[in-house]
């Protein structure tokens, strides 16, 4: 299992062993993509209409592809994806939220992908060659994700009464997890100082304005602000992630010596 960074050679040591900030940053971005890709792939074969099934699979495929690149840069990608437990996952809480109905999936996607798109635009200027190249590739994919999520938000918000209610519920579910996207801790601080990562606070205003504009077009109100729920970047997740990992990791965990 080569390629695994020495600092986290054990399977579940990461929470207790310091990992270098760049690896940590790669895991945050990579886990976001992996977990959201896994969530979206749950829709495959069950979408409300064939065209949507195809779109959601497209998003999931892009995200699994992004996760493969990022986790591969952080170490042994498969080992990282399939052999870490909850405490060592670094994704934000938003992406692990359950699909719920189609409106909740779209709400989650809008809130995440708008952030991801703004962040990737800035990441293309990273001093880290790998990340800059990654961002150049991913930003094109995510521009489409953002467009799709925005279009569906408008369609559902400004569709029927039922769809507007469902969209409002979906937003209400996901809204409390958006502040985490702008959180800056010591690790991110260092990445920002080294010119590797963009400062998420620098895109917060643009993010809020972009959402306000989509919500206005969709005839939807932003949910009231509340105390932020955070912790994903430090491994303190919602109850949902453990179940997602249980399904995703079961084969490599059950047959740890097998090659697939």
């Amino acid at each position: 299992m080569g390629g695994w960074t020495p600092a986290c050679a054990g399977v579940h040591l990461m929470a207790t062993v310091a990992v270098d900030p760049r690896t940590e940053y790669l895991l945050r971005l990579g886990d976001d993509a992996l977990v959201l890709g896994q969530r979206l792939s749950e829709w495959c074969g069950h979408g409300p209409v064939l065209e949507v099934d195809i779109s959601l699979a497209n998003l999931a495929l892009d995200l699994v592809g992004q996760a493969t690149l990022l986790l591969g840069e952080a170490g042994d990608g498969d080992r990282l994806a399939f052999h870490r437990d909850v405490l060592d996952f670094r994704n934000c809480l938003l992406v692990e939220q359950p699909n719920g109905d189609f409106a909740q999936t779209i709400a989650r996607h809008l809130l995440y992908t708008t952030w991801q798109h703004l962040m990737l635009q800035r990441l293309t200027a990273s001093k880290d060659t790998f990340l800059a190249e990654f961002a150049h590739k991913a930003v094109k994919e995510v521009a489409y994700h953002r467009e799709l999520a925005s279009d569906w938000t408008v369609r559902l918000g400004d569709g029927s009464e039922e769809s507007a209610n469902r969209m409002a519920d979906g937003l209400a579910w996901c809204w409390r997890f958006t502040p985490e996207l702008f959180e800056v801790d010591e690790i991110l601080e260092e990445m920002i100082d080294r010119g590797v990562a963009p400062d998420p606070r620098s895109l917060e205003q643009e993010y809020r304005l972009a959402l306000a504009s989509i919500l206005a077009e969709a005839n939807l109100e932003a949910p009231p602000e509340q105390r932020p729920i955070v912790g994903g970047r430090r491994g303190h997740h919602s109850e949902h992630l453990g179940h997602l990992l249980a399904a995703m990791q079961f084969l490599p965990r059950t047959y740890p010596d097998a090659t697939w």
Binding site: S41, G45, H46, L50, I54, A81, D101, F102, G159, W260
Partner: protein, 326 residues
Amino acid sequence: MYTTELQKTAKIENLEDPKLLEAFEARVTADEFIEPKDWMPEAYRRTLTRQISQHAHSEIVGMLPEGNWITRAPSLRRKAILLAKVQDEAGHGLYLYCAAETLGTSREEMVEALHSGKAKYSTIFNYPTLTWADIGAIGWLVDGAAIMNQVPLQRTSYGPYARAMVRICKEESFHQRQGYEIMIAMANGSSDQKRMAQDALNRWWWPSLMMFGPPDADSPNTAQSMRWRIKRETNDELRQKFVDITVPQAEFLGLTVPDPDLKWNEEKGGYDFGEIDWDEFYAVVKGEGPVAKERMTARREAWEKGAWVREAAAAHEEKRRARKAA
């Protein structure tokens, strides 16, 4: 994925204008494509609508057994490949529904017919995917059988169907390769993996042979479909071809084909193989497959749970149009 013609209601009707019929048959015999606006006998239209929509339904229902493993695929690469494959199937379903719509039946109507149990789909998808090796076996055997059925359909007489098949066939060969690649990894893997691989072959072998449909002697539509170039080879011819190609592949994997009567026949230059359990086949056609209920429930649920989304999209479109007009 492909479904054989499962219903036996097509009859040649004598009500057609004999001159038109003659001209039509001459075009078909000359291997010309029939296009949506061309005159065609009603029975041709009906047979094709049924065959193409069954094929479309098979693609859509076929997403379920493999979709069952997307969230549990054992590596990032396998996950991406399987997602892409199942997504291709949705795409195939879409082109096929479009091809069938050119014959005058709407997608809604076809989907209704599937959900009410009136329309059939390939029997193979009414078998469960129990282990990861089943994903390999489906790609290898089920897509392998599908390719065998579909390659001749690229020259089928109805233009939109033939063109859809050209696109589909390109993707199916990638599907089959990915399935066989999974089987290679499993058959050369740990003892647990080998066990899964052999077990998957044991369970998928016979249902795969059934995919070619009833024996020629019991396939009353074959002659008419051949004559109209809807079909280009008989069920038994295709089945034989499949066995001849697949047995050496199983040998290469070191797996045993679950048929004690399987034997190379030098004289015919092909394998002799055991009797297929046709009672099982007809029972599965009737909806008695092991997971037939699960498959139909999943499709109906997706459709019913998605109703508000489709309604909302229509309502939004209406509002947008009204605003534009104002």
